[in-house]
């Protein structure tokens, strides 16, 4: 069975590869011998019709999204595997294995797109590639070596899964750890190339290795590393959620519904877990950019890219609302009889979320007709203009994180009753802590209007972030401890979620992918007309940065292509494999037991769709 499946997927890959090669090679072939003045080295080549930049844009974005997925999934799988070992719940081990299977097939596609990207860059941007190879050649070698190690580890991890159960499980977990370590280095090496383009440092003379090392340690390297690492976890989690959502909608029987409902829950859980600290990493990155070059900071936040951040606020807002909505749907449907108890707190949280989102999305300079602008006395509204500045945005984003965190805790505790003697004290403490955090965040936010910018940025915003992080880091383990000894009062019923839950999971994943494409465009355009900021100018006809609308169309196209690609990979991975029992075989008896009271009555309710 296994062999047949592998052969079939190999054929599918070969076909995909050929199609892509033809699609790419034909226009390139036509344009290959383009305007190189006699004697001078060719600096750029173009592709008639779509343009070289657009092609690079699309291929690079696909590669990057796939890479994010391929680096996020091992973290996700490894964490699930550990949870499986610690709790003895076989479902987690199965889930981890299912996703590692997806990993093996998407790994090849990622490398394929990386290869296409490399060939295209060498062909279309020779001047830039020449420069970068000159600086970074040693790290190219390191990258290749890392790839060999990663591939070998991945093969061992995946093919050794079943044979390393039991006494050798520790070794397998160690392999998973190694896989993640290599994956992390595979991510940070290319990050150094990209961040060097945005924030180059002067490279003195020295050995080849010394030069590459100096260029690698550029000011935005670590902020981007951390930001991408967390974002990859988020991407992995939400894509797992979307996959489960889709499978849930397509499920044929109650057993599958139970399994995929549970999988969607785990995906969303991990996604939100990564999402909460993500804004802090983004804030750190933005600060480093401002500190590195104020001009770049202004281009991003106040210049021609300022509207992009309103779009970003919209996408993040929908993601926050969507994730919370999924939690709330879970409380309402999976825990029978919970509606009356939770409706009011949910309404309160929803109102806070939306008010915060409204503040976040209010731009500094409003879009107004001439008449409206005249009435306001400019493009700043006298009252709502105060929402447009950084102090307000920082405050509401911190509040949204706190609210989402409350949802998370509420869901965790729903249907359980603490038995520990100190439970009352602990719960009161948590409540007080959350309350104080909210007050501190709001007070600092308002106070921020009345102090010099530098005080606000260095002390107030940092304090807000630290307070929220402190709450996250204290309440989570405390709740974990409480839940360990808690008694389950109402058993969760799996597989009874309405169809819209599946759609919400898909929506959240789309939002995450769109956000990655949007911020990729932001990072690229903040360099404006430079290949390497302040060092090597882009002199091609594509030196300009397109307007947001045009860029958004390409982002949407990229997102759609990526969704199709992921669906294709998932389909290839599932071809011929374990057809009869579905993915849920013997290991899921536990889940089935838990859900058995509902299995009989659920199907009718859960097939409803929008």
């Amino acid at each position: 069975m296994e062999h047949i499946r592998n052969h079939r997927s190999v054929y599918a890959y070969a076909a995909l590869f050929l199609v892509l090669v033809f699609a790419v090679a034909m226009p390139v072939g036509l344009a290959w011998a383009e305007d190189a003045p006699a004697g001078a080295a060719t600096e750029y080549r173009d592709i008639p019709g779509m343009g070289s930049r657009n092609l690079i844009w699309i291929v690079a974005q696909q590669h990057l999204l796939l890479a994010g997925f391929v680096l996020g999934v091992p973290i996700f799988a490894w964490v699930c595997e550990i949870v499986g070992v610690r709790t003895g719940d076989q479902r987690y081990d199965k889930l981890a294995k299912e996703f590692t299977k997806l990993l093996t097939s998407s790994y090849a596609t990622t490398a394929l797109f990386g290869g296409i990207l490399l060939f295209l860059l060498i062909g279309l941007y020779p001047k830039l590639m020449n420069y970068l190879s000159d600086v970074f050649f040693p790290s190219f070698l390191v990258y290749c070596a890392l790839f060999l190690l990663e591939t070998a580890t991945l093969y061992l991890y995946w093919y050794g899964w079943d044979s390393m159960q039991g006494s050798k499980k520790g070794l397998h977990l160690f392999l998973g750890f190694l896989l993640n370590v290599f994956a992390f280095f595979i991510m940070i090496v290319p990050n150094s190339w990209a961040t060097f383009q945005a924030s180059p440092v002067v490279i003195a003379e020295g050995s080849m290795w010394a030069r590459a090392w100096a260029a690698t340690w550029n000011p935005t390297w670590w902020p981007v590393n951390i930001h991408r690492l967390i974002a990859n976890v988020v991407l992995g989690g939400y894509i797992c959620g979307a996959y489960a959502g889709l499978k849930y909608l397509m499920a044929q029987n109650a057993e599958e519904r139970v399994h995929y409902d549970w999988m969607g829950y785990v995906g969303n859980f991990i996604g939100v877990f990564g999402l909460l600290p993500l804004p802090f990493a983004g804030y750190w990155l933005m600060r480093e950019i401002y500190q590195y070059n104020q001009q770049m900071g202004i281009t991003l936040m106040g210049g021609f890219l300022s509207w992009l951040f309103i779009l970003q606020a919209m996408l993040i807002g929908i993601l926050f609302v969507g994730s919370n909505y999924y939690f709330w749907l879970g409380i309402m449907h999976r825990i029978p009889g919970s509606e009356a108890r939770y409706r009011r707190p949910i309404l309160a949280m929803l109102v806070i979320l939306l008010v915060c989102l409204g503040v976040w999305m209010t731009p500094h300079s409003l879009v107004a007709s001439l008449e409206e602008a005249r009435k306001m006395g400019g493009t700043h509204h006298p009252l709502l203009g105060v929402f447009g500045v950084m102090s307000a945005k920082m405050t509401v984003s911190n509040l949204m994180i706190l609210v989402t965190f409350m949802s998370f805790i509420m869901y965790w505790r729903a249907g359980k009753e603490e038995t520990a003697r100190w439970a009352k004290v602990a719960k009161a403490g948590q409540g007080v802590l959350l309350g104080i955090a909210v007050v501190v965040v709001v007070v600092l936010g308002v106070w921020g209007y009345f102090v010099p910018a530098i005080t606000r940025i260095n002390y107030f915003s940092t304090t807000q972030v630290l307070v929220v992080l402190f709450v996250l880091l204290t309440v989570t383990p405390l709740t974990g401890l409480l839940m360990k000894s808690a008694r389950t009062t109402t058993e969760m019923v799996w597989g009874v979620m309405p169809g819209r839950a599946g759609y919400v999971l898909v929506l959240n994943a789309v939002m995450v992918i769109l956000l990655m494409t949007l911020m990729g465009y932001a990072r690229s355009s903040s360099r404006v007309h430079w290949h390497v900021y302040g060092v090597m100018q882009d002199t091609s006809q594509y030196a300009y940065s397109p307007a947001l609308g045009y860029a958004a169309a390409i982002m949407a196209l990229n997102t759609f292509l990526f969704c199709l690609l992921v669906a294709f990979i998932f389909w290839v991975a599932s071809m011929g494999g374990e057809k009869k029992g579905g993915p849920t075989d013997t290991a899921h008896t536990k889940a089935k037991d838990a859900a058995s009271p509902a299995v009989g009555s659920a199907p009718a309710a859960s097939t409803g769709h929008q």
């Binding site: 104020q294 210049g303 929803l350 300079s365 879009v367 602008a373 493009t379 009252l383 910018a453 302040g534």
Partner: protein, 240 residues
């Protein structure tokens, strides 16, 4: 379920938000532009849908009346004629909107000028070479009175004698949103290069600020900058 259904409550909430933003708020302050009102209404709709579809029963309470109204099942009397009116008027509304969007009109397009665009690289890292002494500030104030005061005003609030002639109006330095959030080097660039030196997103064709490099030396410009901060009671933005 007693009382009005969720659908009706949602409709009332939406209407209330609209009335509050469109008609009540202008009584207190300047009216909001429509773009912002649409944004807030959109968020309200999201809230109603999310809250309404939390459980199976509430979904029925929210969507049931709407579906029944539209399909015409089990309604009668005035509601039935209201349904007919909606079904006729809605396409007309869409048609009117489309027509309004396509028909040529005399309104200029919406304003989207970036007031403080990114300065060119060669100005970002500059700092004031002159010490901030009372003499320098005094000399700067004299220069300000000679060159800047007619537009930016004796009180540094953009309210000079000639200010009425300009749209956009001269910058108000007393406003914490202007020079207080900019570095001295930014002011140096704006004074030296004037309106024509702005990048495209700053709409260089709109600003009437002269290119002072033609008439003033760098030292004079730095002195004027010191005088502006002192006169407006502001401090330049710093990064440390």
């Amino acid at each position: 379920m007693r009382g009005p259904s969720l659908a009706v409550k949602g409709g009332i909430l939406l209407a209330a938000v609209f009335v509050a933003l469109k008609f009540v708020l202008p009584l207190l302050t300047a009216p909001l532009p429509m773009s912002l009102i649409y944004l807030y209404l959109f968020l309200t709709i999201i809230g109603i849908v999310v809250y309404g579809t939390l459980s199976g029963e509430s979904t029925e309470a929210l969507l049931g009346p709407i579906f029944r109204f539209l399909s015409g099942e089990g309604i009668g009397g005035a509601v039935k004629s209201a349904r007919l009116a909606v079904l006729v008027l809605f396409p007309l509304l869409v048609g009117w909107q489309t027509y309004g969007g396509l028909a040529p009109n005399t309104q200029p397009p919406a304003e989207s000028r970036t007031i403080h665009p990114a300065p060119p690289g060669e100005f970002v890292g500059l700092s004031n070479p002159l010490p901030n002494t009372p003499e320098n500030v005094m000399m700067g104030t004299g220069l300000y009175a000679a060159y800047c005061l007619p537009c930016h005003g004796p009180k540094f609030n953009g309210n000079g004698a000639a200010s009425d002639g300009f749209n956009p109006p001269p910058a108000n330095f007393a406003d914490p949103g202007t020079i207080a959030m900019l570095q001295e080097s930014y002011l140096f660039w704006r004074i030296k290069k004037g309106g024509v030196g702005l990048s495209v997103e700053g709409h260089p064709w709109k600003s009437a600020m002269p290119r002072w490099e033609v008439e003033l030396s760098d030292d004079q410009i730095w002195k004027i900058i010191m005088a502006e901060y002192a006169g407006a009671g502001q401090k330049p933005r710093t990064w440390e």
